[in-house]
Symmetry: C2
Subunit: 337 residues, 2 copies
């Protein structure tokens, strides 16, 4: 049995962590759900029965084995080191520690071994986690020289308030009422916003650079350049991405597209949806609320010749992009106790 | 004065052709509005007053100088040659003649001279026209080695019924009712569909290949490879695109990003929206129902070094992608009479 805490238990990611813990039948002993002071004392229905929300304190964590942090970077920066010092394994969903060379950044099916004895483990950015699941099997077999990504990101990236804003403001739009925005920089219904997170010095956004930084770190290889444009679109909870790569090895001479399909079919956590003639390809409609990352529209890229590949992925932002990946990290930690 | 006909006058593109003709104060003499047999006899309000819809016939076109075809490829293939034989200039919005080497494919600010004495002139695919407006000034100055496009295409690409399906089915979704699809292969509200037009032998869709074929033809240069993923998203009438290019000339050594901005600022039909720190970038919200193609998020691409550029464009699909471009072709034809 493991005593488990969740900071941010009422948020979109926190709720999914509870669901995944239950679905995976993780043997949960004590369960502590931490929320804002405002919600503390309220009851929350969970797959483990009704629990009373608590305000976070280090003392309240005393008996925990693992704590999931699904709050914000500032919270993680303040508390993660203190929790780790108490011997609690911290699985952090924020970007606070992802670029710290002493902290492992983990997608378990790719680099579980990076966890080692670390007491703080960073969960990657959602876009990167979804991308990595589909890209890694290809990278392993064919190598990578270039990676170009364009994203189609759901409002769940901004949590429940983001999804709610899309629904509420879409309704306003359809009712002919003024359409506002509070969570997003502009109204999101029937619109898109090519701006996620803050701009960096190179005019890429932080969200775009996360894909570069984190893919390199997870693959433990920064030899291939990466470029990304990250775009928010009016969908709810699955991120999609167009992916163009140049490989090291000649694809045609090493099994061609059929070999790529075979690799992906054999990869756990990936679901091939690649039959456009029967209208089958990755879509948020089918990729939402499921664990596997969908991959399809696989074809030779027309720009990089026999070394070029182009495909489309779609994955649940709250699951593969956050909760599922976090719980899979916990499974590795628990299996090694 | 020019006598003008429109086949498909009640469609989304036909209506915009009427609006653009009026806004540009084209001296319209006789005006013939052709519709399906079902609508013939009905009245249609236009900026030129109320007109009675007619069923199309070659005889009814007798006095026309120019006819816009905004119907489908089959109609164009059947009637365009016969209309041209009567001396009528045919401006065709379908893809029927775009790849015919004897028929010019025209974006007037780029290749107006291609019109020559041709009586049939093809209007490009919407995605290509929007892309070409932003890309051509950069191509002229820096040359092009590679072009990689990902699209975010609006439902207007499927005409009024496409837009109506998005609105109606979004309402159903929000009301908790079943969400259907008739125009699109799958339900479009809060979803996306990486499948526009029919798949080709190389597993690209025809929509994706149009970007390749048509950009090469409009630029009169097929030396640079092009690859595209075309995705339908739940927006109404503006298409967006991420564009990654490798140039012939070193960008940094030839004025850098500032030079690119300057080129675009000086290009007619292009509106620079490139200030992410003030939340300014191309979006359907601002690019809809305006003539200019918006360009922003301009930055050095991280994959192609000093020869790499990445940017984002957004343009009204019905205007720059169809009606506006068609009327601009007509303007060239009329100016040369």
């Amino acid at each position: 049995m493991a005593n488990i805490g969740i900071a941010g238990a009422t948020g979109a990611v926190g709720i999914e962590i509870l669901n995944v813990l239950a679905r995976k039948e993780i043997p949960v002993g004590e369960l502590k759900l931490f929320s804002s002071a405002r919600s503390a004392g309220k009851k929350q229905a969970t797959p483990f029965g009704e629990h009373i929300l608590e305000e976070f304190s280090l003392d309240a964590c005393e008996n925990l084995d693992i704590i999931f942090l699904a709050v914000g970077g500032d919270f993680s920066r303040e508390y993660a080191p203190q929790l780790a010092e108490k011997g609690i394994t911290v699985i952090d969903n924020s970007s606070a520690f992802r670029y710290d060379e002493n902290i492992p950044l983990v997608v378990p099916s790719i680099n579980a071994e990076a966890i080692g004895n670390s007491k703080i483990i960073a969960n990657p950015n959602c876009t990167t986690a979804i991308l990595a699941m589909a890209l890694y099997p290809i990278y392993k077999e064919f190598g990578l020289k270039k990676l170009i990504v364009s994203t189609y990101q759901a409002t769940s990236g901004a949590g429940n308030p983001g999804m709610q804003e899309l629904l509420d403001e879409s309704k306003n739009y359809l009712d002919g009422k003024p359409v506002g925005n509070n969570i997003f920089a502009h109204p999101i219904p029937f619109n898109l916003i090519p701006h996620i997170d803050v701009p960096q010095e190179n005019d890429y956004t932080k969200e775009e650079m996360k894909v570069t930084w984190e893919t390199h770190k997870i693959f433990n290889d920064n030899s291939f350049p990466i470029s990304c444009t990250a775009v928010r679109i009016p969908t709810l909870r699955a991120h999609s991405e167009t992916i163009v790569i140049e490989t090291e090895k000649n694809i045609d001479e090493n099994g061609g597209i059929e070999k790529i399909r075979e690799l992906l079919q054999q990869s756990s956590g990936v679901h091939l949806q690649d039959d456009i003639r029967n209208n089958i390809y990755p879509m948020p409609l089918n990729a939402s609320e499921v664990y596997d990352v969908q991959v399809g529209r696989i074809r030779k890229n027309l720009v990089f010749g026999d070394f070029g590949l182009e495909f489309f992925v779609c994955g649940d932002q709250l699951l593969r992009g956050a909760a599922l990946n976090s719980v899979e990290i916990a499974e590795v930690v628990l299996s090694e106790r």
